[in-house]
């Protein structure tokens, strides 16, 4: 008898987003940066929306961020999140640039204690066998 593993939905990377998810597997947060104007961009695209350059490359960022907003989805239709209640879905801003938004989960914290601007740091967690995600924890 095998244990039934419940997985979260996981990304299906394409040629433009592949570097990001490979970085996550290596516990590195890689964000696309324009080689021409220096602007960071997320989600990654083939063109820099700041200067229309097509010369873009992944750059490792610190993983430091601040909290922009958050919510606690209660009614989860997904079997993984239905069995991982409560959880916090959040938008954070990576400190390298304002704005540089990133959607994630906050871990090891209580939703009632959160505030806008709260310092956060990336934490790579294996959420299911072979599935690592970039989550964020509160800097205490």
């Amino acid at each position: 008898m095998t244990n039934h593993v419940v997985y979260p939905p996981m990304p299906k990377p394409d040629s433009v987003t592949e570097f990001f998810w490979k970085g996550v597997d290596q516990h590195e947060l890689l964000i696309q940066r324009c080689l021409s104007c220096g602007r960071y961009q997320h989600p990654p695209k083939e063109i820099c929306a700041g200067c229309l350059s097509t010369e873009l490359a992944p750059e490792r960022v610190t993983g430091d961020a601040t909290l922009v907003t958050w919510t606690e989805p209660v009614k989860a239709y997904d079997p993984y999140f239905a069995t991982h209640q409560p959880y916090i879905f959040a938008t954070v801003n990576l400190v390298e640039q304002e704005p540089l938004r990133f959607a994630t989960n906050l871990i090891d914290c209580d939703g009632d204690d959160l505030r806008i601007g709260q310092p956060l740091r990336v934490a790579f967690r294996e959420v299911a066998p072979g599935c690592t995600l970039p989550l964020f924890e509160v800097v205490r």
Binding site: H4, V5, V6, Y7, P8, P9, M10, P11, K12, P13, D14, T17, H42, P43, V68, T69, W70, T71, E72, P73, V74, K75, A76, Y77, D78, P79, Y80, F81, H84, Y87, F89, T91, P99, R101, F102, A103, T104, N105, G111, R115, I116, A128, C131, L133, L135
Partner: protein, 388 residues
Amino acid sequence: MTAMRNRVAIAGVGYSQTGRKLPFSDDQLVAQAVTAALADAGLKPADVDGISTTGGVSMSIGALLGILPLNWFFTSSLYGPSFAETAVMAMDAVAAGSCHTALAIRVIRQPRAEDHPIAAITAGSSADGPVRVAGQQQWTAPFGGSLPAAFIGGLQMQRYMSEFRATEQDFARHAAVQRDHASRNPEALFREALSADEYSQSRYVSKPVRLLDCDYPVDSASAVIFTTPERARDFRKPAILVDSWAMSAVADIDMALLDDFTSNAIGHCSETLWSRTDLRPSDVDCAGLYDGFSIITFQWLDGLGFCGRGEAPGFIAEGHTGPGGSLPTNTDGGACNVGRRHGANFCIESVRQLRGECGERQVPGAEVAVWSNATGSFAGASLLTIDR
């Protein structure tokens, strides 16, 4: 500055039957709504030469209802401010002369389990490995952010509450005021008085969003007939003039990644709208402000300048938005109470108020109305006046 002014009019409005899991196809719902709008205007199908739709295919609707040939037609990609998109396209087409009489349609059904937005994500077995999600969803689905109540309603409401110190009581009060309006609307699906306590007892969907902050999913179609003012004056009902309209996009579709979670496209759209008219917020007699989630009505009250940014809770508490207030808002009860018409009800209720057709909930002497739709990445709004 007022180049748009009164180049377009509204001649007729109509709804299909509306309710939960009705035994009607999209085609049947559209036919019901269009028939009602044509009867309201006193028009025949052959009087229409343009169709704009969000839901379905415009050309097919023309063929379905014998409205051919068409001089102009538009089908929404669904990545836009819903009914406002289809209405703005119709208004642009009439103003430009591409057609003379355009139907704007929104048909939307209560999601069935199999066509739920994340059904594709959850459909796969999770026993053999994770379901894989591509495109925009890869940035939210792995984190459980796929529900609109989370990535739209939850994120925006929490930010508004934190930034402006709004409280659950503010949203409870708003829900009670909307229900107060609904109690005066025979077509509303919820008409029983709602107390703040009942609001607070409704369950969270995505905290801080409660069930009573969400519009009510139903099967419905809505139709509005836009035409030239000259034609409208010959039709059955008093012409409603479109003073101005605006439509904005400020971000891609990823609403979890907005630069601004409180003003967003609503702020930009409001600014554009006021730049196209001589009317001012103080001229407006009643408002229909989208409430896919109740936070969105707060954002529109702020954005359109009826109060300062973040001041909607106080504005509502002072009674301005309720029956008899200075700006009765969502006098049909809003989509939380009349069901999800995806913006069309705000246009249709505004028309009915300006015509003086609203019975017990009529705003006395209403001459100017504003209606709006959507939030986040995109938004649309329009000012209407009665032809005097």
